[in-house]
Amino acid sequence: MAAMTPTAPDTVEAGTSGAAPRASTRRPRPRSRPRPRVWRGAVLALAGAYFLTPLIASFVFTVHVPGRGISFEAYTELLAADGFTQSLLLSLGLAAATISLSLLLAVPALIAVRIGSPRLRPVVEVVCMLPLVVPPIALVTGITTVLRWGPEHLSRTPLYQTFLAVQNEDFPVVLVLAYTVLALPFVHRSLDAGLRAIDVPTLVEAARSCGASWPHVVLRVLLPNLRASLAGAAFLTLALVLGEFTIASLLGFRPFAVWIVSISGAQARMSVAVSILSLVITWLLLLLLSRAATVPATVSAAPATSRKES
């Protein structure tokens, strides 16, 4: 057992790893060693089977047509499918807008509470974390209620035009606003971890005393240091927006996830193929993210999850 502790030099010292523990662990070792190994293998094998089966089976489902053998039609027909490119482009556009908006809002606020207004810090933290408490389905009930005020109460005021513009079919700004709210907790967590890792006041004071202007300090000194957490925030937001179904479908818009559901009745094979593709894309993005995030530290700390639609 003492052989298992090469790490944590602060607690292992010569005295305890000497003769006494070896003598005491010699007896249980033959009995307890093989058991965990078998147990561990069984657990990992079962977990692997459970997590891999749906992936393999759905791939088989898309390429194997009963009675006709193997065909990749579901994938080749995808690009020509009605609404595929349109909904995908809409989702990507929404994602880009959401990422820009959430970063534009969160970065200045978080830097500000670090260097100048520490008393605002708990306020900003609570405000950013509150959306976690509100499930998307509850948020959408509130949004539909607010949107209904437009025609009901404000139809004579200039605000009404704003209400209409926000719900424009081609680019529903209301979705960007809602997604930004949903993304704030994850953006905040990611940026806060990044800011905690660097010494913001010292960097700012060093840059300022070298004569840098404030925009220069933020753009050339702070943001480069935050690159990993900015990328993390952007990737999590992208995953959230690409997979979002609840709010978009209840507000009557048709981005990617809603489109998949809408074709599932007529073209089951294609809907599964698209699901696999969107999964693979999300995986690649998140793998990139975990690579970027785990270069310096070990894989632990903050779980890299967004509230992706579930």
Binding site: L44, H64, V124, V261, V299, T305
Partner: protein, 299 residues
Amino acid sequence: MSATTTPHPKGTAGGNRRRRRGPRTWLAALPLLAFTGLCFGIPLGAIAFGAVTRTDPATGAVRPTGEHLARSLQGPYLGSLIGSVQLSALTALVGGLLGVLIAQAVVTSRSTALRSAALTASGVLANFGGVPLAFAFIATVGISGVVTQLADLGGLGWSLYSFTGLTVVYLYFLIPLMVLVIAPALDGLRPQWREAAQNNGATAGQFWRHVGLPVLAPSLLGGFVLLFGTAFAAHATAAALVGGSVPLVTLKIADALSGNVLTGQENVALALGLDMILIAGLVMAVYLPLQRRSARWLR
């Protein structure tokens, strides 16, 4: 500081900076606060307001009432709330247990490749929810799914579109979430503690009962609560999978909003939304202190 007019370069520089920094930083946080107030506060207020008031269609008069909340806690709506809580509790319990087992198997293995692969895969799978997951499971164990036909699951009475089926699907993203949450805590369980217990003659059971579980308890509870909250808020998976055959509060809200039931249900939807926010708020109120407590042991 700047009250004295003596030309003291250091003093004036500091005073200058302080004076300029104060209002500026305050302003930088303002857009965020204004945005959340507008796009989050107003819908939230609309939920709370709509859930406890009634607008007379004829006169437009608004008066407070408890009837929507009362209705949201009766009949089919109460059933859906109970169904959601049951499903979330069951999946959180099973997912938590299995997640701990897998995390323990990964953490205690000495292969770093397995470890990093498992943790990365968990990060990815925990994000794999919603519509794609539902379709993957339909293709696998749905009515005409690949595994269903290979193993003749239909003959065994299996149905994906049921409470059990939904549990199996939810576990697919809940287990990895638990692995992510609990792995750091299991890492914090130092091998030296186990050795110390063994040197004092403790058995494995005694070690877990007196050292392991007490240290892990906040993380375990916190993980359970987080899983519960995630399962409770989940809507897209259930919507794409079961439609309405399993009573869940998220599906009921969606029905009421999209007018699939009687008109005039909007206020009940708002009341149900308020119920959900209260339950989720309770969950977070339990989770955050637990997380802070468990962070104590993780260096």
